[in-house]
């Protein structure tokens, strides 16, 4: 005979431990790709790629929107190309290619406070103007 306690929450789902599965979904994974950017001294951000919701292009800018669960909701990158779509594709390619094999999981989108010159993830992006 099998007794079922209806007041007790199920501990397994499809044979997998439910608590572990729920924790996995909520946690930032250790191998998650991290996006970092810096506008200037004392003004920078880091967010997991999994929090990225969309990238919207305007005239000369790419606006990255994130899950606004904490302090970083949007990051504005500047582009040099007259065709922002080229920059958008280059950025997506760069994000897609990271975190494989021996590659670093850190993507520096733009570092405007770098020691010598602004560092960006792809040449089509020229800097970071706003972290909000």
């Amino acid at each position: 005979m099998v007794l079922i306690n209806l007041n007790q929450e199920p501990k397994t789902l499809n044979g997998k431990h439910l608590n572990k599965q729920l924790k996995k979904e909520k946690m930032t994974r250790a191998d998650e790709i991290m996006l970092v950017a810096q506008v200037g001294d004392n003004d920078s951000m880091m967010s997991p790629l999994g929090k990225l919701k969309s990238i919207n292009s305007g005239s000369g800018v790419l606006l990255l929107n994130f899950d606004a669960t904490a302090n970083v909701a949007a990051v504005t990158l500047t582009t040099s190309s007259p065709d922002e779509f080229t920059a958008l594709k280059a950025l997506c390619r760069a994000l897609n290619g990271r975190g494989r094999n021996m590659q670093s999981n850190v993507v520096v989108l733009a570092d405007a406070a770098a020691a010598t010159a602004t560092v960006t993830v792809v040449p089509e992006i020229t800097g970071c103007s706003i972290i909000a």
Binding site: D31, I33, L49, G50, L52, K53, S54, I55, N56, S57, G58, S59, G60, N65, D83, E84, F85, L88, K89, L91, C92, R93, L95, N96, G97, G99, R100
Partner: protein, 96 residues
């Protein structure tokens, strides 16, 4: 894990990219398909004009399930270059 991106270009200086995992669903309607995303307000739905909606749905699905070793950039619709992932897609109707 690799992240594929879905790209749309409505006009010059007006483009959008979404990580694939932000795609919620795609609905085929009369002459259009509506792609819904978990995205900020004003960017949640993209309506594409189509000839055969169901074939367009299948073509998009095939593109998404394409080679793992692609560059991860899937241009679904580009009104500037007039390039579309499916021959059944004719334009971007709206972004809302």
């Amino acid at each position: 894990m690799k992240t594929k991106f879905l790209l749309f270009q409505n006009a010059a200086n007006d483009a959008l990219a979404y990580p694939l995992d932000r795609l919620q669903d795609v609905e085929g309607k009369d002459g259009t398909i509506v792609m819904s995303f978990d995205a900020p307000s004003g960017e949640t739905t993209i309506t594409l004009a189509t000839s055969d909606e169901f074939q367009a749905l299948k073509d998009i699905s095939e593109a998404i399930g394409g080679p793992v070793h692609s560059d991860g950039v899937l241009v679904i619709a580009d009104d500037v270059a007039e390039e579309y992932v499916s021959s059944q897609i004719t334009a971007i109707n709206s972004v809302a």
